[in-house]
């Protein structure tokens, strides 16, 4: 494969840890031709990011390439000196790191970080680079690129940062782009838009991708060819369709089986998983590395393995691939409890009229000189209404799914519920206690009961504490278990989130993205809470771990009556777990209702877009989103007045009404509310644009739908 743009041959990478060397990538070969999109999937911790790091020569300290060659455009990268190799980056090889939260320099405006590589590599001037930056940001679906360019990273939501990073990677249109989980923080509409963009760049400009993702739906959409990694070893390699339709390796099958689906009935079924966990990489088994977890394993599987051909352009590392061909992953799914009939008790969390505003921009943003004698300085920084009036009730044992566009205020809402942020306006009650104005000290009992899994696991873990210390603390703080049992409990918690017990001695920087995420989940569970705000808790997890975690959360809910505010952009996951779903748009709820109500017609026009944009693993075609959305960029909203926030993008908008008056609440059914000026019968019902309902009376009250 000498015409390959990038070819990796027999790459082996080890990390030096206190416990001994960990082989994170073992004898991996991989090739990417020009204009090709190659996927790299696999369980969290299987070495995907390590491969990316090796190609970029940016492995963490303590990592060493113990074998193999990496060639780019025919030359061995190891033969370049540092500077030459560095010069390739950005210009010829672009990259998006897995963690969008820490990959942007907190002290530099986002726009400058994107413009910088252009100025360095393309030699363009500052103003030209700026113009190009705005263009890139525009492509990324930002409504007001200039504002984003002027913002600092901490002022952006997770998805916004991720898009900014993708924009930076694309800045110089490199030949090869390594995308490490580029869509974890993106909501489906933006994800779809970015996937479209990537696709266009590939076909038009011949870019190649190494696409690392656990999101099989996205992989199916983007990639032509997929490599499946497990515990550092290549398990299977195949063209996309072949892989998804005729997976040859048991592990691949397990992954596919773990996927949640969007079809009803929701929340009553458990996801199927791959039981067990990654093998101990300190001492990997000599034979099939997957054997311990493989339902098809048989005698002889403990023999050393080589990779072999399994079909057309398909290779697999399984002794028994021929024998088991066609056998389905055994579904051990059992039904979960169903509380729907019992109903829930009184409100656990009760939110009324909640609002939160932030100011944007740099040190001097918004400072203007007001003419006059003497001239006055006025300080009127631009303000973002992150949460713009939310009413919400969460009852014990209830899971409220929160979906919505990136930057719509989901994380902010979650933080407000836990008083991690002081609301600008409105009330938050927890178990009858008004927490929004209580002093921190009085919140202590509340803190034990209400926990959060942060969207960004990496920065939410103290870099100087081992996993064990991190997990032990809540146990000690709330006296959950006596001191001598804590070590064991830490181990239990780790296992609950599918991590080896030995990880207790690791520091966060020694974990992969998904592993950190799981530690964060374990930490939230450690306090034995009653209510957890889960902010994208599974976004960094591969489907099998995701399934395990979702099942775990579901079990806890069913057995202990836990409540969750479950924030995710993955509708299928949300559907799987939630009793009710709230669709958020620009700080307000566009639609709320039970999972079934929200996921079936009538839809809010925005909900419809979300559903239509969700990637499908079955390979079915996506509906034409352009019919569902106006050209306006995501996040574009009504002009500052009271109008509908979705106005600018809504294909069914009513000029003169939607842009001026706040949308009324329509309630097609009990517990189902849609904030829209459209009359109930005018609301879209299928994935096709509804005809704009002309002359709908503003504020008309819809009758309650059939029960």
């Amino acid at each position: 494969m000498d015409d390959a743009l990038l070819s990796i041959e027999n790459l082996t990478v080890t990390y030096d840890t206190l416990a001994g060397p960990v082989t994170a990538v073992d004898d991996l070969s991989l090739a990417i031709g020009p204009g090709r999109a190659v996927g790299l999937v696999g369980e969290s911790g299987s070495g995907k990011s390590t491969v990316a790091g090796a190609v970029l020569d940016l492995l963490a300290p303590g990592a060493a390439i113990d074998g193999g060659r990496i060639r780019f455009e025919g030359t061995d990268l190891a033969s370049h000196d540092r500077a030459t190799r560095r010069a390739l980056l950005g210009r010829r090889i672009g990259s998006v790191f897995q963690d969008p939260f820490t990959s942007l320099n907190p002290a530099i405006q986002v726009g400058d970080q994107i413009a910088e590589p252009m100025m360095v590599h393309l030699g363009v001037g500052a103003s030209e680079a700026r113009a190009m930056t705005l263009e890139r940001l525009d492509e990324m679906g930002f409504a007001r690129p200039a504002e984003i360019a002027g913002a600092y990273p901490h002022q952006l939501s997770g998805g916004m940062k991720q898009r900014a990073l993708i924009a930076a990677a694309l800045a110089c249109e490199p030949k090869l782009i390594i995308l490490d989980e580029p869509t974890t923080a993106l909501d489906v509409t933006i994800e779809a838009q970015i996937i479209d963009l990537l696709e266009r760049l590939r076909t038009e400009k011949g870019l190649s991708y190494l696409f690392i993702s656990h999101n099989l739906g996205v992989v199916r959409r983007v990639c032509e060819e997929v490599y499946v990694l497990y515990a550092g070893r290549l398990m299977e390699r195949a063209d996309t369709d072949a892989l998804f339709d005729r997976p040859s390796h048991p592990y691949t099958r397990g992954l596919l089986a773990s996927l949640p689906r969007l079809q009803p009935p929701h929340r009553v079924k458990r996801l199927s998983t791959i039981p067990g966990e990654l093998p101990d990489l300190l001492a990997p088994p000599p034979g099939c590395i997957f054997e311990a977890r493989c339902p098809f394993s048989a005698e002889g599987c403990d023999r050393p393995q080589t990779i072999r051909v399994a079909g057309v352009r398909q290779m697999t590392r399984c002794h028994r691939h021929a024998e088991i061909a066609g056998e389905a992953w055994p579904s051990r799914a059992r039904l979960g409890h169903d509380f729907s009939r019992k109903g829930f008790g009184d409100a656990l969390v009760n939110v009324v009229g909640l609002k939160k505003r932030f100011r944007m921009g740099g040190l001097f943003a918004g400072i203007k000189l007001k003419p006059g004698l003497p001239p006055r300085i006025v300080n009127a920084p631009p303000v973002v209404k992150a949460v713009a009036g939310i009413d919400l009730v969460i009852r014990p044992g209830e899971v409220v799914g929160l979906v919505g566009e990136s930057g719509s205020g989901k994380s902010t809402l979650g933080r407000l519920l836990l008083r991690l942020e002081d609301p600008t306006e409105g009330a938050v009650e927890y178990d009858g206690l008004a927490i929004e104005r209580l002093p921190q000290r009085a919140l202590r009992p509340f803190r034990k009961e209400a926990q959060i899994v942060f969207q960004n696991a990496d920065s939410s873990l103290n870099p100087r504490k081992t996993v064990g210390e991190t997990l032990r603390r809540p146990l000690a703080l709330f006296g959950i278990v006596p001191a001598r049992e804590r070590a064991k409990r830490v181990g239990d918690l780790l296992e609950m989130v599918r991590l080896p017990r030995a990880y207790a001695t690791r520091y966060p920087h020694q974990l992969s993205g998904g592993e950190k995420q799981r530690v964060a989940i374990a930490r939230a569970l450690a306090t034995e809470p009653k209510f957890i705000v889960c902010d994208e808790p599974v976004s960094a997890l591969d489907v099998s771990v995701q399934a395990a975690v979702v099942n775990l959360l579901a079990d806890l809910r069913d057995e202990l009556g836990l409540s969750y505010l479950f924030i995710s952009h993955d509708l299928a996951v949300v559907a799987q777990l939630s009793d009710r779903i709230a669709v958020m748009y620009r700080g307000t709820f566009a639609e709320t209702g039970t999972a079934d109500q929200v996921l079936s017609p009538p839809f809010h026009p925005y909900t419809l877009v979300l559903l239509a944009s969700a990637p499908r693993v079955d390979g079915s075609a996506m509906p034409d989103r352009s019919a569902l959305l106006r050209d306006a960029a995501p996040g574009a909203g009504a002009p500052d007045g009271d109008g509908c926030p979705f106005f600018a993008r809504c294909p069914s908008r009513i000029e003169g009404t939607c842009d001026e008056l706040p949308p009324p609440r329509r309630t097609p059914a009990k517990g189902h509310a849609i904030a829209c000026h459209l009359k109930l019968d005018a609301l879209p019902t299928r994935f096709v644009p509804a005809a704009p309902a002309m002359g709908a009376a503003p504020g008309a009250v819809a009758s309650a739908g059939p029960e």
Binding site: D16, A19, G20, P61, G62, L477, K488, G491, L552, E559
Partner: protein, 293 residues
């Protein structure tokens, strides 16, 4: 509970058996050993020093280094080498005590004001501004005149002088760290300010504290010298490196050894303390790996 937690018993307890200890950085070892040696010398000064620190051999004044007087003699004919050894006591005492005082007060103060922000921060910082703008000489003078001066008082005073500097540094570090999400996570857990400060923020703030602390030891020793220079020093004939240098500065040309010996001692101490600090900082950083890429 969940199926994920089955067969717990089968799972091996965390494999401590193979865990090896992080290797000590060489700077930590080297600096630590030298510093320990200096401390030992200080403790056992009477046993090591060939002469009492104040014994005069007036006939041998300004004697060049020789076998009798390893580092020569000073203007009274006292053995410079012995004085240097005794000097370690006072200088280290001063340096270490002053630094401890400043750290013990300054670190919590800085942490608090950086974390509390708002009114507490402003109040603490403005008070420190005043403290810091208060000229050291003035303070020392106050102490000397209001009370009979003594080494430990001077050390404590110097420690106080250093408080604002330490506190300000801590505050700036803390301002930065307080914005980290793991701090937010601790707050979400309902941790009190003291835990957050001591267990979440402080461990990440060690590097600047260590660097600052080891430099402060040096500065305190130097300040003692400067005080001697300005006439507010240790009582003669006590040997203190700073005082030795201050008093011998007039003989730099005639008898350079009188200055060089304590200078060298200070130099070694400074390098050892700071090397130790560098090493400690490295050792405490989990991300610094023994193996470098």
């Amino acid at each position: 509970m969940a199926e994920a937690s089955v067969d717990l018993e089968a799972a091996p307890i965390a494999p401590r058996r193979r865990a090896r200890r992080r290797p000590l950085p060489s700077s930590l070892v080297a600096g630590g050993l030298v510093f320990a040696a200096i401390i030992l010398v200080a403790i056992f000064a009477p046993l090591i020093a060939p002469y009492p620190f104040d014994e005069m051999h007036i006939r041998d004044r300004f004697h060049a280094p020789s076998l009798t007087y390893l580092a020569g003699t000073d203007e009274y004919g006292r053995d410079v080498f012995s004085r240097m050894i005794y000097g370690a006591r006072l200088s280290l005492f001063m340096g270490v005590l002053a630094t401890l005082v400043s750290l013990v007060i300054g670190v919590p103060l800085g942490l608090l004001s950086g974390y509390m922000r708002g009114a507490v921060d402003e109040a603490v910082m403005r008070i420190l501004d005043i403290m810091m703008a208060f000229p050291p000489i003035m303070l020392v003078l106050l102490i000397i005149t209001l009370t009979e001066p003594s080494l430990w008082k001077t050390s404590v005073a110097v420690g106080f002088l250093f408080v604002p500097a330490i506190a300000r540094l801590m505050r700036s570090v803390c301002l930065d760290l307080a914005g980290e999400e793991y701090v937010l996570a601790a707050r979400a857990r309902g941790e009190g300010a003291s835990y957050i400060l001591l267990r979440e923020i402080l461990p990440n703030a060690w590097p600047p504290i260590i660097v600052e602390g080891s430099l402060r030891v040096t500065f305190a020793i130097l300040l003692a010298a400067v005080l001697s220079f300005l006439g507010f020093g240790i009582q003669p004939p006590a040997a203190d490196w700073g005082l030795m240098i201050a008093q011998a500065r007039g003989y730099i040309e005639r008898a350079p050894w009188i200055v060089l010996a304590p200078g060298l001692a200070m130099c070694v101490t400074v390098v050892a303390v700071n090397l130790f600090g560098d090493g400690l900082r490295e050792y405490l950083d989990p991300r610094m790996s023994a193996r470098r890429g």
